[in-house]
Amino acid sequence: MAPPLIDPALFDQLKTKIEEDTSVRKELDQILDDLNQHVSFTQGVLSRIHSTPRAKYATLFEQVEAGVKKEIETVGRLGAFASQFPYYKYNHKWTRMVQDAISTVILTTWLGGLSTESKTGELGRLLTLEDIGEVFNAPVNLKDRDAFHITIEEYLLGLISVIDDLSRLAVNSVTLGDTAMAVQISGFIKDLHAGFQVLNLKNDILRKRVDSIKYAVKKVEDVVYDLSLRNLIPAQETTQ
């Protein structure tokens, strides 16, 4: 007898592999459901910054920090599970959510929350990629081994979301009478915009999002223009 076209063992082997893959994805989805819940909650609480005067941030941060703590826990679970498999095989499933988690942390810290013993809470502190790795207990920009980590792209995309949020806050802080905040946001966003110009971008999602920063810059510049026209900018800021 001539050998059969398909070795029966081949079918079994492929079937097993596909089933394994499916169950990995199911388990990932469960973790990601949790992460999604915590990220949405934290984002929701954080959106109150637009209607809360700066003096009352402290109470707001308590809630935010509780949410961030859950985010960190869940990212930890995700990392432990995902590290068993090739990182980029499944990375697309969580990258958006991790970006959102990163941006909640960057925003909170910039506003003076999430202070630690070494770093006291003050307005305007930007966490670097390495800082983010420390917050989430995850390696960053991993190259020498195949495990869960936070990528440069995730950090930068998370940062761009923060810029969008801050440009909105600039408007609302003026409404709340906090013109100094608007001026500080303007300086920060312009600096970051210049920073993003340093990158050589390809035609990908990062490029698309970076292109949107200029609208945030414009929005904030308009606010500052309105303020300066009416002499509403605090004295020490204008001398800069």
């Binding site: 076209l5 398909i6 063992a9 893959d21 990182y87 920073g195 990158l199 050589n200």
Partner: protein, 307 residues
């Protein structure tokens, strides 16, 4: 003279004139951070660019192998000499390309660039098709991996032997510094590379069945009496049925369900075309003049996508 630019007053602008001094980059607290991130991103983009280039060439070469193989008329253990030598020379080119990208896609980078490595599907298609024409069996994933590994190693050796042959090959040059062939990085196939390659194999088998039946007047099948058995040798119609059932029975690949369904649909159509061929052979095989090719072009969405 074209492309003369004039300024506001209508005076011609000189292109080779002194350029205004480049505006110094405005530096601020965050500039160093972005500069270091730029380095990293550039490495990634350059690597992807190199992979994409090699991948495009490998795809083209694999397609040429498939065209050569489509000139085979029957299933037998040895490909005709002229075709075998065409295939070999293409494979030699492919192995050089594989060796050049192998170091780029080790470890974590294997899946990072898997979308830029569509060429491997095409290569699987070519290799499984050649294997089918020789043995009338489907080569397994586990047996195909060493084949690709061998190709990569061969390519690495070739680029060491003739360093001047492709001077633009950075990986080949890099490898010269290392001891030869002890720990040469190789290319591995993912499950998806293999499965999607085999999906495409069904299209090639359909084409082969059609031309070989038309030109030889016989349905392609295994050799008669080779094993001394008195069974009729298996025909390609049976093989197509087998392969169709194989894919119908497999669970849907979880990565990209949409693509899987699309490929499965094309496979179903290929199976039916070959079925139709088998029917034609039985019902009016003797009446049909030699060289007559049944018109299978209508309702054939698979064709356009392949070319």
């Amino acid at each position: 003279m074209s492309g003369l630019k004039r300024d506001w007053n209508g005076n011609t602008k000189r292109r080779d004139g002194p350029k205004p001094a480049a505006k110094p980059v405005v530096r601020n607290a965050y500039t160093p951070m972005f500069e270091s991130l730029r380095e990293e991103l550039d490495q990634h983009h350059d690597r992807r660019e190199r992979i994409v280039k090699a991948s495009r060439d490998i795809t083209a070469l694999s397609k040429k192998i498939i065209f050569s193989l489509q000139r085979v008329r029957k299933i037998e253990s040895q490909l005709p000499n002229n075709i075998q030598s065409e295939v070999d020379s293409r494979l030699a080119d492919i192995s050089k390309l594989l060796a050049s990208i192998a170091p780029e896609i080790q470890g974590i980078n294997r899946y990072r660039y898997s979308r830029s490595l569509m060429c491997l599907e095409e290569l699987v298609e070519a290799l499984t098709f050649a294997h089918y024409l020789r043995t009338q069996t489907l080569i397994g994933h586990a047996e195909l991996d060493p084949t690709i590994e061998d190709l990569t190693k061969k390519g690495a050796v070739i680029s060491e032997d003739e360093p001047m042959a492709d001077a633009g090959d950075p990986a080949g040059n890099a490898e010269k510094d290392e001891p030869p062939a002890v720990n040469v990085p190789t290319v591995t196939l993912t499950q998806d590379d293999y499965l999607y390659g085999v999906f495409d194999l069904t299209g090639e088998m359909m084409r082969f069945a059609t031309t070989s039946t038309a030109l030889t007047g016989k349905m392609a099948s295994g050799q008669t009496g080779k094993d001394g058995g008195d069974d009729e040798p298996r025909t390609i119609v049976q093989d197509m049925h087998e392969l169709g059932t194989f894919f119908e029975m497999l669970p849907v690949g979880p990565g990209n369900k949409f693509q899987w369904e699309k490929k499965l649909e094309v496979t179903r159509q290929s199976v039916q075309k070959v079925e139709r061929l088998g029917y034609d052979r039985v019902i009016r095989g003797s009446e049909r003049p030699k060289g007559w090719i049944p018109d299978l072009s209508s309702g054939d969405p698979g064709q356009g996508e392949e070319e």
